[in-house]
């Protein structure tokens, strides 16, 4: 029997947990356009079910900005939008490719069980 058929989604079993790499999630959220904090939280929740807390989100934003992977845009009202930089896109692509290779390899191993 292929063990990947018995996939359990985090929504069904919270013990499994959600994917949590806040900087990567923020980068992925900004990949389809600039967003401010609340829009990022909602987008990430839709993307993978993880709802980042305000401190976690701004911790990730600070790290990403220091690394030059995202940059702030002029503030709109009291909201501060951010956008991904060219370097950020390159890093996101590389990380997701590695993750994809890792996932494929992991699933192949499970299938061979």
């Amino acid at each position: 029997m292929r063990s990947t058929r018995n996939v359990v989604h985090p929504e069904e079993d919270p013990k499994i947990g959600y994917f949590s790499d806040p900087p990567l999630l923020v980068l992925a959220s900004l990949a389809n356009g600039p967003k401010h904090g609340h829009a990022m939280i909602e987008d990430i929740a839709r993307l993978c079910g993880t709802r980042l807390g305000p401190g976690t989100l701004y911790g990730a934003i600070a790290r990403l900005e220091q690394q030059g992977w995202i940059e702030p845009l002029p503030a709109e009202d009291r909201r501060q939008p951010y956008r991904i930089t060219g370097e950020g896109l390159r890093v996101l692509r590389a990380k997701l490719t590695t993750l994809q290779q890792f996932t494929k390899a992991g699933l192949r191993r499970l299938e061979s069980l």
Partner: protein, 166 residues
């Protein structure tokens, strides 16, 4: 979240972090839910920021800070144009001294230097207007400082023309 509580929670972060993100983080907290989970998350993140400061370059300036605004072309172009106009006057004066005229040589049709000065001074007005319209609503205080700097540079460029009756 309660504005006072949002301010208190923001104060838990280290100073360099607050100087860069404090204002926007406080606004972000105020517009979100003030539940216990969010508060615990902020307290934990603030502690983390104190124990393990964000690595990399020093904290970037806020996009609405005086220095950050000054880096925009519409802010520094009028300054550069005023200084260039002053430079034109200086060059004309040096040329006059070298020619033995003891200063700027007056020409019947005002001359190239005068036309350059006029173009530079008049040309910056549209840039200045664009800058004021764009930035005054976003960051009034910082924009006024930049406008004062631009006005100072323009006056410095106009002063020799006025006092020397050029």
């Amino acid at each position: 979240m309660n504005p006072r509580l949002a301010h208190l929670l923001t104060c838990l972060y280290p100073r360099p972090w607050r100087e860069r993100y404090g204002e926007e983080f406080e606004a972000f907290l105020q517009s979100g839910p003030g539940d216990l989970q969010a508060m615990a998350n902020v307290v934990w993140s603030a502690l983390h920021a104190r124990l393990i400061p964000t690595r990399g370059n020093p904290m970037n300036q806020s996009p609405n800070s005086f220095r950050a605004i000054l880096k925009h072309p519409s802010a520094f172009l009028p300054l550069a144009m005023s200084l260039a106009a002053l430079g034109v006057l200086a060059c004309a004066a040096i040329y006059g001294f070298l020619q033995g005229a003891g200063g700027i040589i007056r020409q019947p049709d005002e001359g190239t230097a005068a036309h350059l000065w006029q173009i530079l001074m008049a040309g910056q007005l549209t840039v200045l207007l664009y800058f004021a319209v764009k930035w005054l609503p976003r960051a009034p205080k910082q924009t006024l400082y930049v406008l004062a700097l631009q006005a100072g540079a323009a006056l410095a460029s106009m002063a020799p023309v006025y006092f020397l009756n050029l």
